[in-house]
Symmetry: C2
Subunit: 352 residues, 2 copies
DNA sequence: ATTATAAATGTAAGCGCTTACACTGACGAG
DNA sequence: CTCGTCAGTGTAAGCGCTTACATTTATAAT
């Protein structure tokens, strides 16, 4: 009795499908990629064979031959935090709608790790890359250019960056919020920021606050800023530190909502009421901002819109449709309850 | 004047490196993959060429030839929610430490999307897959088996599942929490659960509550359960609904922290104090649970440990080291402030 | 019917890498 | 001095797919 050679336990290949359908591999390939270049009857036969064999194209082989992966990579600073979650979810949905798959990896806010991940994704054939912000060394942009992998920056807007961006003006947004704080009578203002090194969003937000201070003729040198990593507990600690000063601030602006929630927590521990004793503001308007109490006055960022637009723009770049795609999205101040008039001020501008 | 053929603008290949170093492609390949099989002097020369050319191996080609990708795929129900974030972060870190890359995609809690993503990741050559829970149709497991792609389930433990799991006993954990609730005098108990269809974690948690009820000789039929998707606002709405009953519950157990925070929010809107008027509990112990007020009494799940162990177990499976790796992790009840004695009960068992 | 033209399909050459196998030369044993 | 051994390299055969080009077949115009 002969061994049954055809007992094919391995995963079927294009060749198997072709043989089964009685056509050439080219035809099978066309059925899968350009169905309209194959006559109906043949296509039906091929598709049947595909189904019968449960054929799935080998991705690596396809990539190698076609030099396209329909894969977009995204490298975000962290997954362990909701800041990027919503925008990324929208980004993925939009990609999916256009037939692309998203690969996500995180850099832990470390430039060297980010670079490694960029190379890994490019090596894996990502057709395009979504990066957060603009802060990175020139060589990596050159690398991307050499590899001809288009990249787009999000969560930050820069008119003439090395790569186009879909984002918002962190500086102007923070400035607007700070002006509101100042309008409410606050003069002693402090800030808890994320680490600004290698993070243009954080840096721009700081600058925005300074802009507002200057515009109101307040002394920028008086501004105390504590930089810390994005964790609730760190926000609490920084806040405690700030309030231990001889002349503690009456308003603490935070670089993001996570830090602001931490500050809130710090205030609670110190027995301070927000906003009666001290005002706190956030940035990003993640869900957390709404459900914490008091609910955070913060800068609303259109995360979902940003994700969606970034996806469309990036795919356009990948498919070579358009060139310049940068877009500046509008942010707004979301007034909730963590910001109030400066204590000791007689006149609340909103209730004169 | 002849065109300068050697002006190679394209990305360098193994061949280019080999030529530059004056060796064969096999040697270059060996330098990269089995450095000790090449003599020092040659290796140095090759490495120099690699550096000079800024050579990066073509991933697809490597995969195709070697049939290994050093890539692990993970499919989680959603990224738009912190439940999986921490565990996944730990998972990625552990993978990275062992030289693997993580590819994440999300299924939006939809079985059909999950299946699509599984196939996509397998096609992309994932060496192994991390899946959440055990609820999926048999054919997909057969597919995985046929493709010889090992998979591991996390966030759920099942002794004899189709695939091994690194998780915890959702049922026992919820039962333990419910017993605590009952011990505090609560008799009218309700639950807000995630959609249990296709979600074994949600289902097990419901069963756990029922177990506790039965053990305390309470009528399971009296238990009202509202199922809704994991969003804060849905938790609030479900809570409001529950409290509008003729005989509202005195304790509302939630399928997870997000829903519990929503319930809390609902209570606030209704003017109910937690836990004086009504008790609320969560599940998962994500950061949110600690910072919401009142801080949530919830089930603590060792997310980071789970992620780490899952990574190690999965890699062991991929590398064929071990076979059975299932592990049941311990959970604990995290007592905070959202659970109190039943109102109207004279005796608080903790302060008799 | 005949031929020009277009549509459908087949042929086969890679894509860039790994690896089985072949080869070379140095070394120690006999 | 010869031969077997073996470490270090080279040769070349794929891996499974896409696609330019060649070939065949259908369609339309004469």
């Amino acid at each position: 009795m002969k061994a049954d050679i055809s007992k094919d336990d391995a995963t079927p290949t294009l060749d198997d499908v072709a043989r089964k359908a009685g056509v050439s591999t080219a035809t099978v390939s066309r059925c899968l990629n350009n169905p309209d270049r194959v006559v109906e009857a043949t296509r039906a036969r091929v598709m049947e064979a595909v189904k019968a064999l449960e054929y799935t194209p080998n991705f690596a082989a396809r990539v190698m031959a076609a030099k396209r992966t329909f894969t977009i990579g995204a490298i975000i600073p962290t997954m362990d935090n909701a800041i990027f979650a919503r925008g990324l979810q929208a980004f993925q949905e939009a990609l999916h709608a256009r037939g692309y798959t998203l690969l996500v990896s995180s850099s832990a806010y470390r430039p060297d790790v980010e670079e490694e991940q960029i190379r890994a994704l490019v090596a894996r054939g990502a057709d395009g890359l979504l990066l957060i912000g603009h802060d990175r060394d020139a060589p990596i942009y050159e690398y991307l250019e050499r590899q001809k992998v288009p990249a787009l920056a999000a969560w930050s807007f820069m008119e003439d960056g090395q790569i186009p961006s879909i984002g918002f003006d962190n500086r102007a947004a923070m400035s607007a919020l700070a002006k509101e704080v100042i309008r409410l009578g606050h003069r002693r203002i402090a800030m808890i920021s994320g680490i600004s090194q290698g993070n243009d969003r954080a840096r721009e937000r700081i600058e925005g606050l300074k802009d507002a201070l200057r515009e109101s003729a307040l002394d920028v040198d008086d501004l105390e800023i504590i930089e810390t990593t994005y964790e609730v507990e760190n926000g609490a600690e920084a806040f405690t530190q700030l309030m231990s000063r001889d002349v503690p601030p009456t308003a603490v602006l935070c670089g993001n909502d996570v830090l602001a929630v931490g500050a809130s927590l710090g205030a609670k521990r110190l027995g301070l009421r927000v906003p009666q004793d001290v005002s706190i503001t956030g940035f990003d308007d993640i869900e957390l901002a709404r459900i914490t109490s008091p609910a955070l006055t913060t800068v609303h960022v259109p995360h979902r819109e940003m994700g969606r637009k970034a996806a469309d723009a990036l795919i356009d770049m990948v498919e070579g449709k358009k060139k310049v795609v940068s877009a500046k999205l509008e942010t707004s101040i979301k007034k909730r309850h963590s910001l109030g008039p400066c204590p000791g001020t007689n006149d609340d501008p909103d209730h004169p």
